[in-house]
Amino acid sequence: MSLIIGLGVVLVLAILYLIFRIGNLVELVKGKKDDDGSTWNTVNAYLMLFFMIGGLGWFFWYSYVHFEGYTLPVASEHGAVTDYLFWVTMAVTVVAFAIIFIVMFWFTFKYRYEEGRKATFFADDHKLEIAWTVIPAIVLALLIFSGLKAWNDITGPASKEAVVIELVGQQFLWTARYPGGDKHLGKHNYKMIDASNEFGLDLRDVNTLDDFKSLELHLPKGREVQLMIRAKDVLHSVFLPHFRVKMDAVPGMYTTFKFIPTKSTADMRTETGNPNFNYEMACTEICGRGHFSMRFPVFVHDTFEDYEKWMSSQEAWLKQNPDYLKRVPVELREAAIIKAGIPMDSQEAILAAPVTVTSN
């Protein structure tokens, strides 16, 4: 079968080659009458014109008709600002683009070769050149300064009341760590990571005791959230498309991003008319085989009270892994039991155990 296809392809190519050869020979025989190629020159000039009209037409048509399809609803405060900047820049650049595009292709059409016509010797014009240096410079300056202001607001320090959440990337999944009732994330150390202690929680720090793990990112609507982002193995990148949030996760250091969600998951379900709508978080830094599969579900609560209710319904990591009480220094164990909410029956034995981990 493949042999026949192969032969067929060879045959078709051979025929095409023959046609090409014959075409060449015919041209030679016909002589050099048409040698200036003026017919083809005109054809190319018209094609340029058609391309310009067709291309711009398709661009405007598609951009208008499919607007809903390629724009994501925005669900954060700074996202509204950056979206605004995006569309202002779009307006400015599309106007500039369309003008230059039309003018250029019009020139290629209008000034196509004509025998006997002489091109205009026009080598320099300082006024023109200064004009089109200065005008783009001014327009760009305006765009830059509005952009820089937004950038400074976005990257400025988070307020003290911000909800702090840690996101940890690893091949190929995300985990979130919440600070628990004390509102402080405890320390971590990558050398303490093991099969259960996936955050590398340093249990000698009292703040770790009530931290809890979540496989879903829960956010309160209308409150500032500060993401503390890190990675365990290679680079990853937190991408929350609807919130216009993106920040790399880097092993060995924290990166941060602060933002205020403005629409709860329920709001978004109403807005999009899709009862199954869910926010999602993706990875946008190549991280290996499963890069494309690092989906992390995101849920935005309607009110801060809802969010706090969810928080208090979560079990502390230590409660889920009571064995690790052994690693809590003896003087902190009492506090640990209270903060993590470990039930009475499993306490006695553990409380007496010696401290097992002392590294670092």
Binding site: Y70, F107, R117, W151, I229, A282, E285, G288
Partner: protein, 627 residues
């Protein structure tokens, strides 16, 4: 006066000797393989570059098959891909990343750096400045053969069982540093690094030669202000290369240390494969700074030669002087300088200090100004021209169109606040493929069509060229324009599939369109390949100056031999863009025609130059007598 006389005398005599010395015929090895002639080396770069372009293009079609037809059964590719196909006939996700990585590496370095600069800097610098050859023919030969070694190593890495490097062409550690992280970070990555070291050596040898040749070996009268814009472009490109490639070398070396000798330049606090690595204190962001310190200038290393070639072709075929010669040189100089201080705009959301983000936003958007000036100048050059659509001209217009379309989206990406959302999405892919990839590729193809007659003494078939152009031009737009929409919708790059996400569930139609267009575009390149090979042997014989062009290379015979000009090297009297000069009978006056011969078309200040010419001519005549 006497000293000047002496000087011209000896230098010309030296040239003459040179011309005669090498008139003898060498054997196959010295003529075509280990050849020191710049024209042969240029062809070696060109043909190697074209081979790489086909490989790079094929790789892109392979991964486009996955993206455009995610459910297709690709078992028929089993004979080629073997174990890289899953049992269901799909491309393996890790091999997908290898394809993306190698496509990027091959296209950026092997095609658009070596294939473009290597070909045209080598071919055109001596011919257009009026030199017998490069400053050092031997170094020039070494430059090609280091590139060849590099090519071999990179090519071999495609066939090893663990696959080639797969961490993206930017090879960010820790992914690229840890073989535990992915297969491709093992031997494949080692070969990538070794190949790039040879590549950098090749590039530096070439650049040193280009710079030396342009500065020292210009023919009489060829002052810097009379250089064609191609030479200016190659000159700036070489300077950028010399200043930036060593930094990539340093980055690669430190990565080698981290990979093989246990250092921690880029590694810190890593827990992978069930164990905590001992490395502490390194920074992956350091690598990104070093990489992009080359990586961004690299964009201009790729682009400037294409812009230079385009300037030449657009002026020639519009039959008009390039508009704003000084502004063109100035904007290239400005771009060359600024290209070194914008690198961190690739790193706005990598955890770099946000204050740096502000600085780099500012610097990045400044670089848009000289780029805009270049576009305006091209368009003005077309205005009131008498445009001949040769294949080269079509591709040059295509370049300007891509440069405009892709350049304008740079204004979004350079603005750090807007970049947050667009970073690492298909918007970026669309942007750089148009402004850098396709534009430079079109510059390269335009250059081949335009200088083919001087390279091989024959013409390429113009009509095949037209078909090639329209399929490629429309094809490239169909491939990359829809990606803007996909990017605005947030689709991340380097994704094997988007079906895991509801947010990225759409655009199956556009992705299919893109893939079909990519296949069509690649197919059209075979027309070019056929035209190229066929025309080398059977093309119509070219005249010495088929495009009625003004620059010096067209004063050489149909097939310039070793030494380029059989007699003396012509003296240059005027700038390279005297097209359609008022008063002149012909619509072009070559650079070697003195003003004294063209009184009918001289401008006022040019008449004043005649006296100067006369005294110089007198010297030449005097010398001829004593000879």
């Amino acid at each position: 006066m006497a000293t000047i006389d002496l000087h011209t005398h000896t230098s010309t005599e030296h040239h003459d000797d040179h011309g005669h010395d090498h008139a003898h015929h060498g054997n196959f090895w010295t003529n075509y393989v280990f050849c020191e002639d710049h024209k042969v080396i240029a062809k070696q770069f060109l043909i190697t570059g074209m081979a790489w372009a086909l490989i790079g293009g094929t790789l892109s079609v392979l991964f486009r098959l996955q993206l455009g037809f995610p459910n297709a059964d690709l078992s028929w590719l089993k004979p080629i891909l073997g174990g890289w196909l899953t049992p269901e006939g799909k491309i393996d996700p890790e091999f997908y990343l290898a394809l993306v990585t190698m496509h990027g590496t091959i296209m950026v370095f092997f095609v658009l750096t070596a294939g473009l600069s290597g070909t045209f800097s080598n071919f055109l610098i001596p011919l257009q400045i009026g030199a017998r050859d490069m400053a050092s023919g031997f170094m020039n030969m070494l430059s090609y053969w280091f590139f060849f070694i590099s090519s071999c190593i990179m090519f071999i890495s495609l066939f090893i069982s663990t696959g080639p490097a797969s961490g993206g062409w930017v090879i960010y550690p820790p992914l690229s540093a840890l073989p535990q992280a992915m297969q491709g970070s093992g031997l494949g990555m080692t070969l990538w690094l070794v190949a790039m070291v040879f590549f950098i050596v090749s590039s530096l040898l070439g650049s040193i030669n280009y710079i030396t040749t342009v500065i020292n070996m210009r023919t009489k009268g060829m002052s810097f202000t009379k250089l064609p814009l191609t030479i200016w472009a190659f000159f700036f490109t070489a300077i950028i290369g010399i200043l930036s490639f060593p930094v990539l070398f340093a980055a690669a070396l430190l990565l080698v240390f981290d990979r093989s000798f246990g250092t921690s330049f880029y590694l810190s606090d890593i827990y992978i494969g069930g164990e905590a690595l001992p490395n502490q204190g390194g920074s992956p962001i350091l690598f990104q700074h070093l990489f992009w310190f080359l990586g961004h200038p690299e964009v201009y290393i790729v682009l400037l030669p294409a812009l230079g070639i385009t300037s030449e072709i657009i002026a020639t075929n519009s039959r008009k002087p390039i508009f704003g010669y000084k502004a063109m040189v100035g904007s290239m100089l400005f771009i060359a300088i600024l290209s070194f201080v914008v690198w961190a705009h690739h790193m706005f959301v990598t955890g770099m200090n946000p204050f740096l983000g502000s600085i780099f936003t500012l610097l990045t958007l400044i670089i848009a100004v000289p780029s805009a000036v270049k576009i305006f100048n091209y368009v003005t050059t077309l205005w009131k021209g008498n445009i001949k659509f040769t294949a080269a001209m079509l591709f040059s217009i295509g370049l300007v169109s891509f440069f405009l379309t892709g350049g304008i989206t740079g204004i979004f990406l350079g603005n750090s606040a807007i970049d947050i959302q667009l970073h690492d999405t298909y918007f970026v892919v669309a942007h750089f493929h148009l402004v850098m990839g396709s534009a430079s590729f079109f510059g390269m193809v335009a250059g081949v069509y335009h200088w083919f007659p001087k390279m091989f003494g024959r013409m390429m078939n113009e009509k095949l060229g037209y078909v090639h152009f329209w399929f490629t031009f429309v094809g490239v737009y169909l491939v990359f324009f829809p990606m803007h929409y996909i990017g605005i919708a947030g689709f991340p790059r380097r994704y094997y599939s988007w079906t895991n996400f509801e947010t990225f569930s759409g655009f199956a139609d556009l992705n299919m369109l893109v893939s079909i267009a990519a296949i069509m575009t690649l197919a059209a390149q075979f027309l070019f390949l056929f035209n190229f090979i066929y025309s080398i042997f059977r093309g119509k014989q070219a005249s010495a100056n088929p495009w009625n062009s003004t620059t010096l290379e067209w004063t050489t015979p149909r097939l310039p031999g070793h030494g380029n000009w059989p007699g003396e090297i012509p003296t240059v009297y005027r700038w390279p863009y005297d097209y359609s000069k008022p008063g002149s009978k012909e619509d072009f006056i070559p650079q070697h025609i003195p003003y004294s011969e063209t009184p009918e078309s001289n401008l006022a200040h040019e008449n004043d130059l005649i006296k100067l010419e006369m005294s110089e001519d007198a010297m030449t005549v005097e010398k001829d007598h004593t000879h």
